[in-house]
């Protein structure tokens, strides 16, 4: 299990246990949050799964992810597409904040 802290748009912190191999988007959805639309289902086509991350270092976003993040008016240095982060044990403790809706 990988432990994550998910912070929703109301600022509420929630501890979530996720399975290695799942993406962060799937973990958020699986944990029952209603805010993350993730409309393309993780196809790296929409940017409606935008989050901010802190904690364990992640590999940098790929070019497509980087470009898609540019579509958000709420992009920050710690922005990621949650469907592009695959969970592994090393990411235990990751803090993920659901970004505002565009």
């Amino acid at each position: 299990m990988v432990s994550l802290t998910i912070i929703d748009r109301a600022g509420q912190e929630n501890s979530v246990d996720a399975l290695p191999g799942q993406t962060v988007m799937e973990a958020i959805r699986q944990a029952g949050f209603d805010e993350l639309e993730a409309m393309c289902g993780g196809s790296r086509s929409c940017a409606t799964c935008h989050v901010y991350v802190e904690g364990p270092a992640l590999p940098p976003p790929g070019e497509d992810e980087d470009d898609l993040l540019d579509s958000s008016d709420h992009r920050r240095a710690d922005s990621r597409l949650s469907c592009q982060i695959r969970l592994e044990q090393a990411l235990d403790g990751l803090r993920v904040t659901i970004a505002p809706e565009d």
Binding site: E26, D34, E35, E37, C40, G41, S45, C46, D67
Partner: protein, 413 residues
């Protein structure tokens, strides 16, 4: 029957548990809606994503659990009733009551019709043979995957739309011998310009698909199982299985029988209201005057449209009615090609190529009266993201600048 009495009444009754129905229920709760919400769904599964049925679920890369729009516990936690495996067969708009296929009936305060569509069936001789498949539901897809797993190798795909092309790509990669038959002179003729069609035709051929355009299917041949597809010129394409991807028929019959306008898609106004009182329609089954298509009345078959119309209706039910204006976008994955489309190209009067298709990364930009109205971007996320802003702004850039890949689209605003 007493209104509000437990199981037999829903303040909001949603017909169809696909993308639109599921998102409507989710958005109602997100907006703080406290009334009772029930989804009636014909399929046995809780709401799941449909696009992977011709992509990574079909290829075996994703399990079904990963397609679920929310886990089963979510619906319980949010007090959203799921009554699955049964369908609404009749609507009485005066009594505000629906009849279900299992003999039960329910009353409603507000009805949201989100029934999507059924795969359009072939009607020619041989259409009833075993081995003929459609790709609309998980069940369809599972049946097809079983057939391939049990040895079907020669597959004929009838229809060169996105679903047919995606299925062809997955099957070719799985080692099947695919023949794709399209009646129109080019694939994707309904949704994209000729440049994009030509590109995808060439890609599929390069991957080994026997892709034929301008061919008419006469009938399907075989004893009990399909063995081949006979074409107008008399030739027969041998096939162990046939996939038919020729569009959908909107699932509207019970509502139309109840008096709603719109046999080819329920007629809805800017707020997604049908012509019946307290009845909304959203998603693939709804036809509306589309702001992004110069007001043309059409159905938009996309996850974006299903989701955003669902949100529009949920807000209206919660007292914040705003006209539906959401920006249309779509995607399709074939081989290692990611297509993203922004806007609707319908009604364009000019087209600009940006980049060289030979590099497998390019965009087609559609204009009407000088304004950018849509883009099809292949392996070009940057153009998609920046081009979308051109469409949203109604920009009228110099076409020569659009073709210059040295100039980012954001500088063409």
């Amino acid at each position: 029957m007493m209104a509000g009495a437990g199981m037999d009444h829903a303040d909001v009754l949603i017909v169809g548990g696909g993308h639109a129905g599921a998102q409507c229920a989710i958005a109602l709760r997100q907006n703080g809606y406290a009334g009772s919400v029930t989804i009636i769904g014909k399929e046995a599964e809780p709401p799941y994503e449909r696009p992977p049925l011709s992509k990574d679920y079909f290829s075996g890369e994703k399990s079904f659990e990963r397609l679920l729009i929310r886990p089963p516990a979510f619906w319980v936690a949010k007090a959203i009733g799921l009554r699955l495996g049964r369908e609404v067969i009749a609507v009485d708009p005066a009594a505000k009551r629906v009849a279900l296929s299992d003999g039960e009936s329910l009353t409603y305060g507000t009805l949201v019709w989100a029934a999507g569509g059924d795969a359009r069936r072939l009607s020619c001789v041989g259409s009833q043979l075993a081995g003929i498949h459609y790709v609309r539901t998980r069940e369809d897809c599972d049946r097809l995957m079983e057939e391939v797993a049990s040895g079907a190798r020669r597959i004929a795909v009838i229809g060169g739309g996105y679903i047919g092309l995606e299925a062809a790509a997955v099957l070719t990669r799985a080692g099947c011998q695919v023949t794709l038959l399209e009646a129109a002179p080019r694939v994707l003729a309904r949704v994209a310009g000729p440049e994009l069609s030509r590109f995808y035709e060439a890609e599929h051929r390069a991957h080994g698909v026997d892709l034929r355009t301008g061919v008419t299917v006469i009938d399907l041949q075989g004893e009990t199982r399909v063995a081949g597809v006979r074409l107008e010129d008399g030739s027969v394409v041998p096939a162990d299985a046939v996939i038919v991807g020729i569009g959908i028929v909107p699932a509207v019959a019970p509502l139309v029988a109840a008096g709603a306008a719109g046999a080819n898609g329920l007629e809805i106004d800017a707020f997604c209201r049908t012509t019946l009182p307290d009845v909304y329609a959203i998603g693939d089954c709804a036809a509306f005057a589309c702001h992004h298509a110069g007001g043309a009345v059409l159905r938009v078959e996309s996850v974006q449209n299903a989701n955003d119309q669902a949100g529009c209706v949920a807000r209206a039910i919660c007292g914040d009615a705003q006209p539906y204006r959401a920006f249309p976008w779509f995607w399709s994955n074939q081989y290692d090609l990611k297509l993203q489309t922004a806007g609707l190209s319908l009604g364009h009067d000019a087209m600009v190529m940006r980049g060289d298709p030979a590099t497998r990364s390019f965009s087609v930009i559609y204009l009407r009266e000088g304004r950018v109205i849509a883009l099809d971007c292949v392996n070009s996320v940057k153009d998609y993201v920046q081009g979308r802003k051109l469409v949203e702004a109604g920009a009228r850039p110099d076409p020569a600048r659009l073709t210059d890949t040295g100039i980012p689209l954001k500088d063409c605003l």
